[in-house]
């Protein structure tokens, strides 16, 4: 099994405030894992470190076998795709143009999209199932549709790792579930490694064979949902009656 992401002893701070402490995390190719934890646990910070946006004060990060520190931004973008969280769009753009942004790390810097890029864009749109939205102004889509388009963008980016930061935050239940199903599909059929930050424990438990629980900047659990989310752990980390969370294993 090849390792696509490895963090060793990572300490990270945000504006001088320590957020992560001694993080050890290994993700193999083809894995599907959910990153959960209470607010302020450092989930988003961990993602930013993995994406190279935040330099850890201590520790090492490896991305697809290369040290993250030695990679330029384009190289990182070809290895790791992040589904944007609540982006704003100042100008009108079609769905194809948005998905096309995913090819930015691959396209010719001066001449833009090549036939291979155009094929990848079409394939991503098809794969995610937003073909019926072609030609539409991205600003006028529904929340569920937007989410799919953004996932299509990340798929077009053709990176081995796909990272999502709370992708279901504004979606209704039906769209939450269908998004999760899409992620499962991408993972099982295409072998894309998926790392998703989720706040919804039920979704995490249902759709992800591996849960990493973050609490107060340290890894408080890493493994199958049943192991990580024992009733005691739930009570201890989240401060709620474990009866609120149905863990079906």
């Amino acid at each position: 099994m090849t390792m696509v992401l490895r963090m060793t002893g990572v300490d990270a701070a945000y504006r001088q405030v320590p957020v992560l402490r001694g993080i050890d995390l290994s993700v193999d190719a083809g894995e599907r894992l959910a990153l959960i934890g209470p607010n302020g646990a450092g989930k988003s910070t961990l993602l930013r470190v993995a994406a190279g946006l935040l330099t850890p004060q201590r520790g090492e990060v490896e991305l697809v076998g290369r040290s993250l520190a030695g990679l330029d931004r384009m190289a990182v973008a070809r290895r790791l795709a992040v589904v944007p969280q609540e982006p704003s769009l100042p100008f009108a753009a079609t769905v194809e143009e948005i998905v096309g942004l995913g090819r930015l790390p691959h396209e010719d810097p001066f001449r833009g999209a090549r036939p291979a890029d155009r094929a990848a864009i079409a394939a991503a749109i098809e794969r995610v199932g937003v073909g019926h939205l072609l030609g539409r102004d991205a600003r006028e889509l529904s929340l569920g549709e937007r989410q799919l388009v953004l996932i299509a963008l990340a798929v077009a980016q053709a990176a081995p790792i796909l990272v999502l930061d709370e992708p279901t935050v504004h979606l209704d239940l039906r769209h939450q579930v269908s998004t999760m199903e899409l992620l499962v599909d991408l993972n099982e059929r295409d072998g894309t490694t998926i790392v998703a930050v989720l706040h919804d424990l039920s979704l995490a438990v249902h759709f992800f064979p591996r849960i990493v629980l973050l609490d107060g900047g340290v890894v408080a659990g890493d493994g199958p949902p049943g192991t990580v989310l024992s009733p005691d752990r739930i009570r201890e980390v989240f401060g709620v009656d474990p009866g609120f969370v149905r863990v079906a294993v």
Binding site: A51, S88, T94, P109
Partner: protein
């Protein structure tokens, strides 16, 4: 494992499809190119002194193409065509191009459809520089560039530099910081300008003339001085079109797509400011071109900077060339008035089209 839900049914399309007219960049380029040639011809043929069109053509052929033609025109006609009208028309095109390219860049960089080349204080800085030049009782010119041109250029650049530095010191998000600091510094400089105008006495007219902008002082020296700066900087911006595209969904999304946002922001800001400073140094403060042309072009060809930059350059050149033509015909009124008359209604249309929540 999990329960499969119902597949999503495709929703009914709610809004008309975007851009049936899009995807015609070549057509747009050809059309604006033809308009540009038209502006050149009209600009050289028209003026307060009537010159026979055949003479005009003869002068152009003789001086520009080296054709050996029988001289049927007066020496004065030749001076008027070659030293007054031709540099003027070409300058309007250069400045129009510069303002439009700067507008595209600032709008993309700041992710704000209401940004224009002056949003970070360049206008106020240039105006204050020009006012100070008028107040200084020194008459000097280097290579045809007077003190006013020089101080306007430096004032524009100095203003952006101050805004950039101050914005970085503020704790605000980069884009918000730039915009707000630009506003604050611009206001401060405008106050300085007001003071300079107050004490300027008889020089007020000249300061005011600079503020309105105009091409009556266009010269080959100004044109050849600004040309390399504008063209080189514009090409460098075009080579970074990828960055502007990446910024479409936000700075963080751009970083995830591989853009070194901090570095690119600095470079693009610098290039766009240089282009703007060169333009305002030779033509004063002409508004609306940098704001409106990028929007029109985006409406026609979409947001990709690879198309929007060159087509806006053409569009800006065309707009300003015809605006100056109209200004000359209407009794030499300030060209800024014409661009405002053309641009303001369009600005309102743009405002109405950009909805309050353009969140994705």
């Amino acid at each position: 494992m999990a329960v499969r839900s119902q597949p999503l049914a495709p929703p009914r399309p709610r809004v008309a499809r975007v851009g049936a007219t899009r995807r015609r960049p070549v057509l747009l380029a050809v059309a604006t190119g033809m308009l540009l040639v038209g502006a050149l011809v009209l600009g050289v043929a028209m003026g307060t002194v009537t010159i026979d069109p055949r003479d005009t053509l003869g002068i152009l052929g003789h001086r520009l193409l080296g054709l050996d033609l029988p001289v049927t025109w007066t020496e004065q006609a030749e001076v008027i065509v070659m030293d007054l009208r031709l540099p003027r028309v070409l300058t309007t095109m250069l400045v129009g191009m510069a303002l439009a390219v700067a507008g595209v860049t600032f709008q993309g960089l700041l992710r704000n459809p209401l940004a224009d080349p002056y949003v970070l204080g360049t206008a106020s800085g240039a105006a204050l520089g020009a006012a100070i030049a008028v107040l200084i009782p020194v008459r000097s010119a280097i290579l045809g560039f007077g003190l006013l041109n020089g101080l306007a250029f430096l004032g524009a650049l100095a203003a952006v530099l101050v805004v950039y530095r101050l914005a970085r010191l503020s704790g605000l998000a980069p884009l918000t910081g730039l915009l707000l600091t630009g506003y604050a510094v611009g206001s401060l400089l405008a106050a300085g300008l007001a003071m300079a105008m107050y004490v300027s006495g008889a020089g007020l007219r000249q300061i005011f003339g600079y503020l309105l902008g105009g091409f009556s002082n266009a010269s080959w020296e100004h044109l050849l001085g600004a040309f390399p700066l504008v063209v080189v900087a514009s090409v460098l911006i075009l080579l970074r079109a990828r960055t502007l595209n990446g910024l479409l969904l936000g700075e963080e999304a751009a970083a995830h797509l591989g853009i070194d946002v901090r570095r690119e922001r600095r470079i693009l800001l610098g290039l766009a400011s240089l282009v703007t400073a060169a333009a305002v140094a030779i033509s004063g403060l002409i508004g609306f071109v940098g704001l409106v042309v990028p929007h029109v072009v985006r409406l026609l060809v979409g947001p990709s900077a690879r198309l929007v930059l060159p087509l806006s350059a053409l569009g800006g050149a065309v707009l300003l060339a015809y605006a100056d033509l109209a200004a000359r015909l209407l009794g030499d009124i300030p060209v800024g008035v014409v661009t405002a008359l053309l641009g303001a209604p369009f600005f309102i249309i743009v405002l109405r089209r950009s909805r309050a929540g353009y969140e994705l």
